[in-house]
């Protein structure tokens, strides 16, 4: 039994089937790579787990919680956080504030206590310190007080990771974290992902096109094509699988 159990999940948009009875499981503490050609349904799967899309059928459990009975805004409360393929930071806020919002579910200041500053100052300070430490960890303190808008792509990717970490996740879903990064940056990122997995005891679900990285860090790989699982196994098994090779023909 994995900590994340996806079973028979289907998603249809009009006549298009994005996910077709997809099932897989992720063990606790694993880095699980979710790969497949463009349009295979990887990001759709992410969006289903983070409750942005409603599946037409199937079930998902995370650590015994029924994910599909959880709303998008409370999915973080069961410990699932994610990053976005096309970046979904809040450009109008500073980098530090972005990360502080990541800790939203781990703090309690409400409109009244915050406006009147009753009992919210200690918490504010704690959240700020925690966020700053995460920025230090991800080498982002230089930009801590700058608006998120206009920073380099690789930096923004790391800010997203920092933001997700601020919520003290149990599972982190990374949607193409390596896209747009240089080779050396990818290596750094790979090391970072492995490190935070260890440091934070995370389960990581990783969607990535950068095959070298996926194969390099994943414990387990699930291969999708046209919304179906076509293969599953260790990186070594996957790279030998003829169905995978076929699906990736024409892909670089």
């Amino acid at each position: 039994m994995g900590v994340l159990e996806v079973s028979e999940v289907s998603v249809r948009f009009g006549g298009v089937t994005a996910l077709d009875s997809l099932s897989f499981a992720v063990e606790a503490g694993q880095i699980c790579g979710l790969i497949g050609p463009n349009g295979a349904g990887k990001t759709t799967m992410f969006n289903v787990i983070s409750r942005i899309y409603n599946p037409t059928g199937g079930s998902i459990t995370f650590d015994g919680n029924d994910v599909l009975r959880t709303r998008a805004s409370t999915i973080s409360r069961i410990g699932i956080f994610r990053t976005f393929q096309n970046l979904a930071l809040w450009p109008g806020m500073t980098v530090l504030d972005n990360v502080m919002v990541g800790a939203h579910t781990k703090s309690h200041g409400n409109a009244v206590s915050s406006s009147f500053r009753v009992g919210s100052r200690g918490e504010e300070k704690r959240v700020a310190v925690r966020a700053y430490e995460l920025l230090e960890e991800l080498e982002l303190t230089d930009v801590a007080f700058r608006p998120a808008a206009g920073l380099p792509f690789g930096t923004l990717k790391r800010i997203e990771i920092a933001r997700a970490l601020a919520g003290q996740p149990r599972m982190l879903m990374l949607d193409e974290p390596a896209s747009g990064l240089t080779h050396s940056e990818v290596d750094v990122l790979a090391a970072l992902i492995k490190r935070i997995r260890t440091d934070y005891g995370l389960t990581i679900l990783l969607v990535e096109h950068h095959m070298a990285m996926v194969m390099g860090i994943s414990d387990h790989v699930v291969v999708l094509d046209f919304g179906r699982r076509i293969a599953e196994g260790t990186p070594a098994q996957i790279s030998r699988d003829p169905r995978v090779i076929e699906a990736y023909l024409g892909e670089s």
């Binding site: 970046l87 450009p91 109008g92 808008a149 206009g150 923004l156």
Partner: protein
């Protein structure tokens, strides 16, 4: 990463709003007074309609065939106050009709020569010069035009009359700011022709506390006859209460066969003022109101109201409403084939172009609708030989203004009254002072030359606080159903001069029924 997307949408929305607002106000500014006066009623509802009365009364097309010959008083009627007994006597201003002013009740720094020098008399007006009702700003230009004519002919004993006009965009809060500013400037002798019922109500407590003559309000509300509570404030127009009284008198005289009356009443102060006036005046006559149907400003149409009204089979129907509701009401009546009552409509709907034109477009006419008129139409060819109108045409043309713009003529009416007040005050004991101006404003005896011949404009201190209380019924007469018709006088002049008394009468009537 587009941080400004939400800002852009706001900017675009605001931009669009401005373009619309700009277009709206600029076209209004250039349009004729006919449209402006009438447009008032439609855009701002009954609140605005209160100001429309004077303008549209003078605007109404087709007051030709003035049957009553009547001599017209010249524009330069001499002041009536040679060796007057009125004026400052023993520290108290004594006027006619028991109207006195004790300056000790005024603020300590009250100055009865404020705004009055040997060279100049400074007056102030707040009225809309921007916004949807900007067209009314021409009233001030019209008044200034008449003052210029007076100044060019010697002024008031050598003093020039200067009228400062400030824009309030018809917003009462802005009127209040303007009035406070003018009061604080301590340079004005009097205020005149502040436009709008709400606008005047917003400031009249202050003007009265400050003992500032607040004269000839540009609205037809009956409140301006409150000589006891607000002695420093006067009106000019025929008020709605009196207008409805004229209806009652006219019906009793011209249509003795009519017994039952149904009312369509705008459910606000404006509509109820008509209703109260009518009910007050039918006491002791054979007329009775059998049904009153109220409508709200939000009503999409009047079909339900007229279904009920038609069922009463009343002999007369009163349209105590304004704006587009007038047109809707006339349409409903005309479409009814079985009920043919006598239709009497508010004078605020007198603009043929605004309220009757849409009927023609529907294949209707609005024929045989009656309204009360009391001022002459300066554009009516039948009035072309009127010496005062000739003077008006000549003066405006010489000043480079368009005399066809009838809001100017309305401005002349107000300025004429103001000039007479100043002339009278100058003849009082103590000469031209603000106290005497106030006495003169409550003692007007001169007849405005633009009033329909035979009507009068008089004030009598505490006894008669209303200036114009008469009118003549006119019937909208159509010869070609595809074209616009015109108003033709119907029946004799009715002059209730002095009969209404003060606002107390109106209050009692409203409370009683």
């Amino acid at each position: 990463m587009r941080p400004t997307r939400w800002k852009k949408s706001v900017v675009l929305g605001v931009g669009a709003a401005f373009v619309i607002a700009s277009c709206g106000s600029s076209t209004k500014a250039g349009s004729t007074a006919t449209t402006v006066a009438a447009g008032t009623a439609t855009t701002a509802g009954a609140g605005a309609a209160t100001t429309a009365a004077a303008a549209s009364a003078a605007t109404t097309a087709g007051t030709s065939a003035a049957t009553a010959a009547g001599t017209t008083t010249g524009g330069t009627t001499a002041g009536s106050a040679g060796g007057a007994t009125e004026g400052l006597v023993n520290g108290v201003y004594k006027g006619i009709g028991d109207f006195n002013i004790d300056p000790k009740k005024c603020p300590a720094d009250w100055n009865d020569k404020q705004g009055i020098t040997d060279k100049e008399i400074d007056l102030f007006v707040s009225l809309p010069k921007s916004g949807p009702l900007a067209g009314f700003g021409l009233l001030a230009d019209g008044a200034s035009s008449y003052f210029k004519y007076i100044n060019d002919n010697g002024g008031i004993g050598g003093r020039n009359i200067v009228l400062d006009a400030k824009d309030d965009a018809y917003k009462p809060d802005q009127t209040k700011t303007n009035v406070d500013e003018a009061l604080g400037a301590k340079k004005y002798a009097a205020f005149m022709t502040v436009l709008g019922t709400a606008n005047n109500l917003a400031v009249w407590d202050t003007t009265n506390d400050e003992c500032m003559p607040h004269l000839l309000n540009g609205t037809g509300a009956a409140q301006w006859g409150d000589v006891k509570g607000h002695p420093w404030t006067t009106g000019m127009q025929l008020d709605y209460f009196t207008e409805a009284s004229l209806w009652a008198k006219w019906l009793a005289k011209e249509h003795p066969e009519a017994k039952t009356v149904a009312e369509l009443t705008f459910n606000n102060d404006f509509g109820k003022s008509y209703s109260a006036g009518f009910k007050y005046s039918i006491k002791g006559t054979g007329l009775s109101v059998v049904h009153q149907e109220l409508h709200e400003g939000t009503a999409p149409n009047l079909t339900n109201q007229f279904t009920t009204l038609a069922a009463t089979k009343a002999d007369v129907v009163l349209l105590e409403t304004t704006g587009a509701f007038c047109t809707q009401a006339m349409s409903e009546i005309e479409k009814n084939t079985t009920w043919k009552p006598i239709v009497i409509m508010s004078g605020t709907c007198g603009s043929v172009a605004q309220f009757f034109k849409p009927l023609v477009d529907q294949g209707l006419t609005g024929a045989n609708t009656y309204i009360i008129q009391n001022f002459k139409d300066v554009n009516d060819p039948a009035n072309a030989s009127d010496p005062f109108i000739q003077l008006y045409q000549k003066t405006l043309t010489a000043q480079g203004l368009d005399p066809k713009q009838t809001t100017y003529a309305t401005g002349w009416i107000y300025a004429w009254f103001m000039t007479e007040i100043l002339k009278d005050a100058a003849g009082y004991q103590g000469g031209l002072t603000r106290g005497n101006i106030m006495l003169a404003a409550r003692s007007i005896q001169e007849t405005n030359p633009l009033l329909i011949a035979g009507l009068t404009s008089k004030m009598d201190g505490m006894k008669d606080a209303y200036l114009t209380e008469g009118g003549r019924m006119a019937k909208y007469t159509v010869t070609d159903p595809k074209a616009l018709g015109r108003f033709v006088p119907s029946g004799d002049l009715i002059n209730l001069e002095g009969q209404l008394g003060t606002y107390d009468t109106v209050k009692a009537a409203a409370a009683g029924g």
